[in-house]
């Protein structure tokens, strides 16, 4: 195994970029190529979340490692697989981005730089450039998404006492402390938002970096108004329960 973050003497940091993908055969190859171009030193892992199309084949063809879950487990479980792999294989840093082409690999590189410079443990790419302003030139969120975003933004800020603008962003970079936390503790149901709350509660440094995002190239958003309402409701419950969960670091101190 590779030496850990602090035990190293010189040398390059090992970086894993992982891409959760569920039926994204049309775009995953392109995303892999983009990451390879921007981050030539990083290893690339596609977490194939039980796809029924040829996502895994496309990913292998593009030269990525593939971790195939035997059945669809949801985004949270797929992301956790990536964190677990990064932890076990001794990577110093890891980052993930969506497989649908919304996340420009150049922006992922910027997130990684933040973690590499040790300015934060977990860095989130926020699609809202200017906090408080919900639109940007490239990214036009739908109405229901905008409502959901503001609700989560409000409650997560309340829960963590830290300002977050993009709570559901799937573009993140993290170091080993985050890998250790997320590989054990990651809600399969509401990964994005609960993970932020968890990281802040565990005393990790979480930072948002404004990034540019594109309209999705393939696939369609899973959000319909009814689903959005359910999504928001679920998210609020998760946040509420999360506030009363015992903290791991607090337990360790006892």
């Amino acid at each position: 195994m590779a030496p850990d973050l602090h035990g190293r003497i010189g040398g390059v940091m090992r970086i894993l970029v992982f891409i959760p993908a569920w039926n994204e055969e049309g775009t995953v190859g392109e995303v892999i190529a983009g990451v390879r171009e921007r981050l030539p030193d990083a290893d690339i892992l596609v977490v194939d979340d039980g796809s029924t199309d040829r996502t895994a084949v496309a990913a292998r063809k593009a030269g990525a490692l593939v971790a195939s879950l035997p059945f669809n487990q949801g985004l949270g479980a797929a992301l956790q697989t990536g964190y677990l792999y990064a932890l076990r294989q001794g990577y110093d840093l890891c980052a993930h981005l969506d497989a649908d082409g919304q996340h420009p690999p150049a922006e992922v590189a910027r997130l990684i730089d933040e973690v590499r410079a040790d300015r934060a443990d977990l860095v989130i790419g926020s699609r809202y450039r200017d906090p408080g302003q919900a639109e940007s030139d490239d990214y036009q969120p739908t109405f229901s998404r905008r409502i959901g975003t503001s609700v989560f933004r409000f409650f997560l800020t309340l829960a963590t006492r830290q300002r977050f603008t993009d709570t559901t962003s799937g573009m993140r970079a993290a170091n080993r402390r985050v890998m250790e936390l997320f590989s054990v503790n990651y809600s399969p149901d509401f990964a994005e938002i609960e993970s932020l709350q968890l990281a802040v509660r565990e005393g990790l440094r979480v930072e948002e970096v404004p990034v540019r995002m594109l309209e999705r190239v393939g696939g369609s958003s899973f959000l319909t108004p009814l689903r959005s309402a359910f999504f928001i409701f679920k998210g609020l419950i998760v946040l509420l329960v999360g506030q009363f969960r015992p903290s791991r670091s607090a337990e360790a101190e006892r």
Binding site: L65, V66, A77
Partner: protein, 150 residues
């Protein structure tokens, strides 16, 4: 003043009939027999059978000693023993259903972890054969001539 209440409280308490008790006892015995049979056929694990056995026994005891039920009804402030019986059963079933949800959640988490472990193991194998993923500039293992399979 309140005529309905006055009349109601004069009504005698409703007890289980002998017929009900016999039917209940027969059902309880049949139920426990069925559980034994399920265990024998490996369709039910012992650890999940205990709770059902207790339920069957409780049913039998209730049928044999109706005084217990009457007592429970008195404690609950219910005049009709049958209503008390239904309420108790309903609550027990609610508890059981919740218990199943807890077990289900635990097993779902276990299944997820199992799937993740398998996926990671596969990716590790792939990484070990140098068949993709690694940045071209750096190779930890000497590149083996494993054929790219696709």
């Amino acid at each position: 003043m309140n005529l309905w209440l006055a009349v109601a409280s004069d009504k005698p308490a409703v007890h289980l009939t002998a017929q009900t008790r016999i039917i209940a006892a027969v059902i309880a015995l049949g139920f426990m027999g069925m559980i034994l049979e399920l265990i024998r056929r490996n369709s039910l694990q012992e650890r999940y059978s205990i709770v059902w056995f207790v339920a069957g026994l409780a049913m039998l005891v209730g049928a044999a000693f109706p005084g217990l039920l009457t007592f429970a009804a008195d404690v609950m402030g219910v005049r009709d023993t049958n209503v008390a019986l239904f309420s108790i059963i309903l609550l027990l079933l609610l508890g059981l259903a919740l218990n199943f949800s807890v077990i289900m959640s635990r097993q779902a988490a276990q299944i997820t972890r199992l799937a993740q472990e398998r996926a990671i193991e596969k990716a590790r194998e792939q990484a070990a054969t140098g068949n993709g993923g690694s940045a071209p500039a750096r190779t930890e293992e000497p590149p083996t001539q494993a054929p790219r399979r696709h």
